[in-house]
Amino acid sequence: MKNHISILLLFLIVINHSCQKDIGFGKIEFDYSQQLFIEGLLYPDETPKIYLSSSLPFFHEKVSPQELFAKNAIVELSGPGYSEILHPDSIFDKFRCRWNPFYSGEHLIKYGHSYQLRVTYEGQTYSASTTINQPRVNIASVQYTPDFYDVYGGHDGVILKVDDPIGIANHYRFQMDRIIDNTRKHAHVLDILTNNCTKEDEPFTVTDLVGPFLVMVHQMASVCK
């Protein structure tokens, strides 16, 4: 019991009065085996984008998306009557001044269709399948709030009210694209980042994601864009 009281109060002292320094872990070797991390969302009427990156030992020197990108992977996406090998592609992140690589395809994703993903990388094969059958809900209203409180604390946000189908277990994903000019900073951890990759007055977007999230009341929820 004493421990948490100590922690709580010492936290204040530590923050204000402690001495801090970066330390290295060069001598410590952790038995960590690199793993492939695959993520991707298929949106109806959009071409597929699949992100492949390698996880690394925590203190590994490789840090950027380009360095961590799983090159030489064979990424195959199959749909009704077709199959295509996705090819490496990238998009420039103006906010962070770097390229974000991924694998992309040519065929548009269709609502109601089933898809199989097959990734072969360094002798291992990974597969997944899905059916694009989640109904798009109707957005009843959109409202901006400067003070929203949830388990992450308080922040601004957008409250969407949607018509939630009764009797169906749904998963919602909320994505909010902020249009930011170079006088503004990111709302989260990048707030100290100076943007050098946009021209003056050129706006750019960053994306916030939350999901899954609480459905506040029946038939009220936030929903994807």
Binding site: M1, K2, N3, H4, I5, S6, I7, L8, L9, L10, F11, L12, I13, V14, S18, C19, Q20, K21, D22, I23, G24, F25, I28, F30, D31, Y32, Q35, F37, E39, L41, Y51, S53, S55, L56, P57, F58, F59, V63, P65, L68, D93, F95, R96, N100, P101, Y149, D150, V151, Y152, G153, G154, H155, V189, L190, I192, L193, V206, T207, D208, L209
Partner: protein
């Protein structure tokens, strides 16, 4: 209903003949020894300090030069058998006091109360008594350390506050908690496995000011004993240690005032006779002025009012030569408010205890102590930060009673037996939710929180038997029971210690103890919010249980001026409790579904060298130990070291009397770093994927790294003087202490982050306490 049996212990002894021999020894030799009692008379009484009347606990009483005598119990009572008709010399000794030699010629039992005197030259006195005191070698009990309270005041102090728990941390087998705090861990046990009791009342949180100071005012303490193994049967309820603290009884000769002025707090103790030699009183109080001192230095945006106090009081009433009544109470609390911008903390925690004890001497061989004890612990910690609110509330109330008989049938037996009862009432609440920082923290009605009550009952019997000059033992059994509405546990706890005397100054001891604990402190799995709470055992959360085996070699040198020991122990702990992964806060006492259960084990070697006489006194303590836990649902079922699994712990403590007025002292500690968890890997998520962009940590195993080693040197110098004030002797002492003299940046904790610009991961070490000089002034008149 649960049953554990002691019989498996005996049945595991492979040889049936040996097993039967053990039983034969127990059942034949004990009655034989009792018969011997008929040929002896008993000398019994109370041993006390002649200048104050304070009882002397652990004073040695022997017949002639026979060192295998007896010692006074926690109430100063002794009883020793001597042959009828012989003229014998009783030798009484106690560290720091002149030895007393009393010739007795017994034709009947004799009640002999002895008042021992402090020497005018303390150094000479210590030399005299040292020749007699080899209790550490002679008694069968092991794993027990008496803390020299008179030495504490000369040791270096942080912020001018000497502290008993800081001294405990310097003993072998004891590992200190976070730097600067009073937390301690004994032989691999968790902090909740230490029973800290003041005049037999449990003190659940013996801390002030983030744990920088303990709640115990050293000037109100008479005696401190730490038991970490070989527990006698009269002690129970915790797995790892008993810290038994006895308050002074108050000077029954004359009124005295003693005080101390420190950097952030001051204290005063008043004691004296209400009725000379009959009723005495001691009142000791301490309060911080930290809140007043810090106020001018704080910016206006910060409001804080941290304050703590403690108050000890005891009335000691000698009703007759055979009856003694004590009433003691302790109150102490910390109360703090901190607010700054969107941060608000409300912190309150405090202990209250009350002990009513009646001691009765039935005769020269039988002593009874009866106690009724009330203790309360309240904690209410609430935090509101960044619109996130959390609260941990704990409310404990115990009513307990204890009757303990001390029976001395002859010089070869010392039997303790009795009964102990607790009625516990617990209320706990943990909560966390979103709340605007603009809304102040609200009070909570404690009565609205469901309470849980349960009862503990224990019967105990312990016999310290001296079979001959070579072999002696302490055999005991404790029968604790836990009774609650939905679950009951009835346990059997065998306790045994054996001593083999190799030579007058050398012995080998071994002990086996089984302990049960019906309370669990559930530690938080996060460091940012207050979530530790006490819970009782339940149908699913079974009692914690430990078995400890230890063996040690004890040897004294130079007429017992130098004590040495080496102890090896192995302890295993069952039914250890932690949160499952991902669970932290709990709203009620019904937390079983969030918990996971495992076991722990610890083993190690402890080396202790203690020089207790002469100009230079002190000790060196070294512990080599390993402590692990294993939970099926944590760390992929693999064992992991506990946070305080330190391979090496070294403490050097020294005090040098340069003259009668000037004393130097120092402490040096070195320990391996605490373990902590380092993420094994990381996954970088770039913008555009399905998750938040950023770095995700991959944790592979618990406590897979160690902080840097910890070491620190503290030094102090004390200057004593004596003058006369209003025709009374006025003693004063000025103490200058320097904490962490070479300002070592010891690791407090390490946190990890990924640089948002470069994406490079970093580990940052946070160090807390640099060099801290402090001065204090103490006086007595």
């Amino acid at each position: 209903m649960e049953n554990l049996s002691a019989y498996p212990l005996l049945t595991k002894i492979p040889n049936k003949i040996i097993r039967n021999q053990i039983l034969r020894i127990v059942f034949i030799l004990i009655p034989l020894s009792l018969i011997q009692a008929q040929r002896n008379f008993a000398v019994s009484g109370i041993v006390s300090d002649g200048s104050s009347g304070e009882v002397l606990i652990g004073a040695n009483i022997s017949v002639d030069q026979n060192t295998s005598g007896t010692s006074t119990n926690n109430y100063g009572f002794y009883s020793i058998s001597v042959p009828a008709g012989d003229s014998v010399i009783l030798v009484l000794s106690y560290l720091g006091f002149q030895s007393a030699r009393i010739t007795v010629n017994l034709k009947q039992n004799l009640q002999l109360n002895v008042q021992m005197n402090l020497s005018s030259n303390e150094l000479e006195t210590i030399t005299v008594t040292a020749d007699q005191n080899d209790d550490n070698v002679n008694r069968p009990q092991m794993g027990t350390i008496e803390i020299p309270t008179n030495m504490i005041k000369d040791l270096p102090a942080i912020l001018g506050e000497q502290d008993i728990l800081k001294v405990i941390q310097l003993l072998p087998g004891v590992q200190a908690g976070n730097e600067g705090t009073t937390g301690f861990f004994v032989r691999g046990g968790n902090a909740d496995q230490n029973l800290v009791q003041l005049d037999e009342a449990i003190v659940y949180n013996p801390n002030h000011l983030f744990g920088l100071f303990s709640s115990f005012n050293t000037r109100a303490i008479n005696n401190v004993t730490l038991i970490k193994g070989g527990f006698p049967a009269q002690y129970g309820g915790r797995l790892s240690s008993i810290l038994d603290i006895n308050m002074k009884e108050g000077n029954n000769k004359r009124w005295e005032v003693e005080g101390g002025i420190g950097m952030i707090s001051s204290q005063i103790t008043v004691e004296g006779p209400i009725i000379q030699d009959k009723v005495s009183l001691i009142v000791s109080a301490r309060r911080t002025y930290f809140d007043w001192l810090i106020k001018p230095f704080l910016p206006q945006s910060i409001k804080t009012n941290y304050r703590f106090y403690d108050l000890n009081a005891k009335i000691n009433w000698r009703l007759s030569d055979k009856d003694h009544l004590f009433i003691s109470t302790f109150r102490g609390s910390d109360d703090a408010l901190y607010s700054q911008d969107n941060i608000e903390y409300n912190i309150f925690f405090g202990n209250q205890t009350g002990t009513l004890r009646w001691n009765h001497i039935f005769g020269p061989r039988l002593f009874l102590s009866n106690s009724i004890i009330l203790n309360k612990y309240d904690q209410n910690v609430a935090a509101l930060q960044d619109n996130s609110f959390s609260r941990a509330l704990s409310n404990i109330r115990d009513i307990s009673g204890k009757s303990e008989f001390h029976y001395y049938p002859n010089r070869n037996h010392k039997i303790n037996f009795g009964i102990q009862y607790y009625n516990h009432r617990f209320r706990s609440l943990g909560d966390s939710n979103a709340q605007s920082s603009k809304v102040p923290i609200s009070e909570i009605n404690k009565d609205s929180i469901p309470e849980k009550t349960f009862n503990e009952l224990a019967l105990f019997l312990n016999d310290e038997i001296k079979f001959n000059e070579i072999f002696s033992s302490s055999l005991g059994i404790r029968l604790p029971a836990f009774v609650e509405k939905d679950a009951s546990y009835y346990q059997i706890e065998p306790r045994m210690s054996f001593k083999l005397q190799l030579s007058p100054g050398t012995s080998i001891k071994t002990s086996y103890t089984l302990m049960n604990q019906f309370l669990h402190l559930i530690p938080s799995s996060t460091a940012a919010v207050p979530t530790d709470i006490w819970i009782p055992s339940s149908r699913k959360t079974r009692p914690q249980q430990s078995q400890q085996l230890a063996i040690g070699l004890f040897k004294n040198y130079h007429n017992n001026r130098l004590e040495t020991s080496i102890e090896v122990y192995y302890k295993k702990m069952e039914n250890q409790v932690l949160f499952k992964e991902g669970n932290q806060l709990i709203k009620t006492l019904d937390v079983d579904e969030f918990l996971t259960y495992g076991k722990g084990w610890s083993y190690g070697t402890e080396i202790f060298l203690k020089k207790k006489t002469g100009r230079f006194t002190g000790w060196a303590a070294y512990t080599l130990s390993w402590t692990y836990q294993r939970f099926d649902q944590l760390n992929f079922g693999k064992k992991f070291p506990v946070r305080y699994d330190r391979r090496h712990d070294l403490s050097l403590v020294g005090t040098y009397d340069l003259s009668k007025k000037c004393t130097f002292s120092g402490t040096f500690v070195y320990s391996s770093g605490n373990t902590f968890t380092v993420p094994g890997g990381r996954i970088n998520i770039a913008q555009g994927g399905s998750l938040f962009e950023g770095n995700y940590f991959v944790y592979q195993s618990r406590n897979n790294a160690r902080l840097n080693p910890f070491h620190r040197l503290n030094l102090s110098v004390s200057y004593k003087s004596q003058t006369s004030l209003f025709r009374k002797k006025f003693s004063s002492e000025c103490n200058l202490s320097i904490y962490n003299i070479y300002s070592r940046q010891n690791p407090y904790f390490i946190y990890f982050r990924v640089d948002p610009i470069t994406d490079k991961p970093k580990a940052r070490q946070v160090s807390l306490l640099p060099i801290i000089p402090s001065i204090s002034y103490n006086f007595k008149f």
